[in-house]
Symmetry: C2
Subunit: 79 residues, 2 copies
């Protein structure tokens, strides 16, 4: 089973990486950008074949390691 | 218009960050993981309202700055 996890900063949390990309794009002449935010995208291939068990495992992984729950939120898509 | 851009390493390219996450998850007791790969996820809010123009701009941004085309590929989703 293949999981696709998106980890993004909660709204209101300063995103220095996003700001840097936004500034660089401006500098390269890309006008009309209101906001740029950057997060992490993680693909995980699992042996687990039971969908519910896989989701439970992935949720635990996000809480235990992948996301900093103070400032980040996560979403899990499972193929 | 809101764009969601995924930037991932081309297959075959070594992913040290993904390996590190995989190793840490193993260490935390999450067995049965075949592979873990990590990429970037960028959200861009654009003033542009014309879909074709927006896609063209975003494609240029990816080629000019956001993706290293030697080792990375990118995909653009536009709401």
């Amino acid at each position: 089973m293949k999981a696709r996890i998106h980890i993004t900063l909660k709204s209101g949390v300063l995103d220095p990486q996003g700001k840097a990309v936004h500034h660089a794009l401006d500098h390269l002449g890309f006008q009309g950008l209101k906001d740029v935010r950057q997060g992490k995208y993680i693909e995980i291939d699992l042996n687990e074949t039971d969908r519910a068990k896989a989701m439970e495992q992935l949720d635990e992984m996000c809480k235990a390691l992948l996301a900093n729950l103070v400032i980040e939120r996560y979403s899990i898509d499972l193929d």
